[in-house]
Each structure stands twice: as structure tokens, then as C-alpha cells.
Symmetry: C2
Subunit: 165 residues, 2 copies
């Protein structure tokens, strides 16, 4: 009996994880789609472009292409394309890197910063509305729980990296 109970607990735990994942994925996907659609219809931009500008907004000194690539978790070729677009629209500039002539220092132009701040303010109201199903205490709770999960995921990746090395 003890064995059977242990097995059914394992089964329950498995199904619990799957159900949790599917529900969480459904919520995230839905929110992401709303954000993507609103960014396109209201500002004519996309999530990666918004993300790139957000990274630059945090760094008044600017970032190299490689740093942008690392922070956005995409490979270099993609960053080149997005920066090309935004530079063409006058939102960012590639300045020479002071000490490394291979590299650039990408930064927001004044117009780019104004435009980003304008978008970010509206973006924030969308997020607030979308998460209004949770009260402040619940948001705090989930925020803490995801900190734990994030650590766990980072540890898994670290383990895997060491195995492959």
C-alpha cells in the first residue's frame, strides 16, 4: 500500500506540473500577444525592438552589439538587423567605441529616448491592467515564487553546462 501511495503521489505530482505549465503558458502567451498587437497598432513597433530600446534606456553610456546580444538572449546577427532599422529611424546611433575599434557603442538618441519613454509609460498601463486580476499581496507572492523558479532554472542550466564540458 505504501508503494502504491508513493506511486500515485508521483503521478499526481507529474500531472500537477503539466497542468500548472499549460495554464501558465496559456496566460503568458495571451499577455504576450496582447502586448505585441498593441505595440504594433499603437506604436508601429515590435517586442524585440521595444526590448532593445529598454536595454539602452537603462544604460546612458550605451552598449556594444555583443552586450545587447547577451542581454536580449539572441545571437548577434539579429541585433545587427534591429539596430539597422532603429538607426534608420533615428532612434539609436552607432558611435565609435573609445578603446576598441572593432566595436560600437550603441545608444539612444534624444528622440529615441523620448519615444521609448512615451511607449514605456503606455506599456506599463497595459501590464497593470492585464495583471489586475491579482491584488498587491498576490503579485508579491508570485514575484517571490518566480524568483525561486528562476534560480532553479539557472542551476539546471549550470549543471548541464558543466556536464557538457
Amino acid at each position: 500500500m505504501a508503494l502504491v501511495d508513493a506511486e500515485s503521489r508521483v503521478l499526481d505530482d507529474h500531472h500537477q506540473a503539466i497542468k500548472l505549465w499549460l495554464r501558465m503558458l496559456a496566460c503568458t502567451t495571451r499577455i504576450e500577444n496582447v502586448i505585441r498587437q498593441k505595440l504594433r497598432s499603437e506604436f508601429g513597433t515590435t517586442l524585440p525592438r521595444f526590448d532593445l530600446m529598454a536595454q539602452l534606456d537603462r544604460e546612458s553610456e550605451g552598449l556594444s552589439m555583443g552586450e545587447l546580444s547577451a542581454r536580449m538572449m539572441v545571437t548577434g546577427g539579429n541585433v545587427t538587423g534591429i539596430v539597422d532599422q532603429l538607426e534608420g529611424e533615428g532612434m539609436v546611433v552607432r558611435e565609435d567605441h573609445p578603446s576598441d575599434r572593432r566595436a560600437y557603442r550603441v545608444r539612444l538618441t534624444p528622440a529615441g529616448r523620448r519615444q521609448f519613454r512615451r511607449m514605456a509609460a503606455v506599456h506599463e498601463t497595459w501590464i497593470v491592467e492585464l495583471f489586475d486580476g491579482w491584488n498587491a499581496a498576490q503579485k508579491t507572492q508570485v514575484h517571490g515564487l518566480f524568483a525561486t523558479l528562476k534560480q532553479h532554472l539557472a542551476a539546471l542550466e549550470e549543471t548541464k553546462r558543466q556536464e557538457s564540458a
Copy 2:
């Protein structure tokens, strides 16, 4: 002072929502990437293909193209493409719909069901490992919280649909 406090609470609440969203999105994206990569390397398949087979596995009677499209939340043309592939590999079949000659009834073949079940079992172990940063009580808690959020998101969509009508 009361006004200032109220304002700073609003600000805090906004930042809380944004930080929560960014952290949640980071976790979801990371998990999704792991799943995508493992599905490709271990089973030579993709997330939408896996998802389509999962929908069919739940419905022994099969589903029409339109029903698949609605459940997967993608437009019809995409479903045609995925069903074409899976039919070519003998995983699913398009049967005539009994009462509507415009429609099909797509269902898993026995081989398709065997293959899906095999994949699903392994997929479940990936999910369990990825979510192992939370204990059972925490998983239950998050599952419940996401039920609330899902309802809230559905309500928002409903409101919007009525506004546009």
C-alpha cells in the same frame, strides 16, 4: 501627505506589475526554449506539432480543422500545413466528416497515438524537472493563482469584444 502616499503606492504597484511580468516572461521563455530544443533533438518535432497531436489525443472522435485552429489559437492556414506534414508521416488522417462534406475529421492513427504517448511521457519528465524548484504546495498555490489570472484575462477579452461590437 495622503495624496503623496497614494501616488507612490500607485507607482509602486505599477513597477511591481512590470517587474513581475518581466520575471514571469523570462521563466516561461526559458522553459519553452528548453522544451522546443529537446523536442527537436530527441523526437525531431516542434511545439506546434506536439500541441496538435496533444489536442487529438484528448479527442478520440477527432477534430475538424477549424476546431484544431481554435484550440491551438492559430489561423487556419497554419493548421493545414501541420496536418499535411503529420499525415505524410502517417501520424494523423483526414477522414470525411459524417455530416458536412466541406469538413474533415482529423484523428491520430494508431501509430500516431503510440508516438504521441511515447513523447508525452518523456515531455512530462522534462516539465517535472523544470518545475522542481517549487514544492507541491507551491505548485498548487501558483496553479490557483493562475486560474484567477486566466479568468481576469478572459474577462478583459470579453469586454473588448463587446466594445468593438
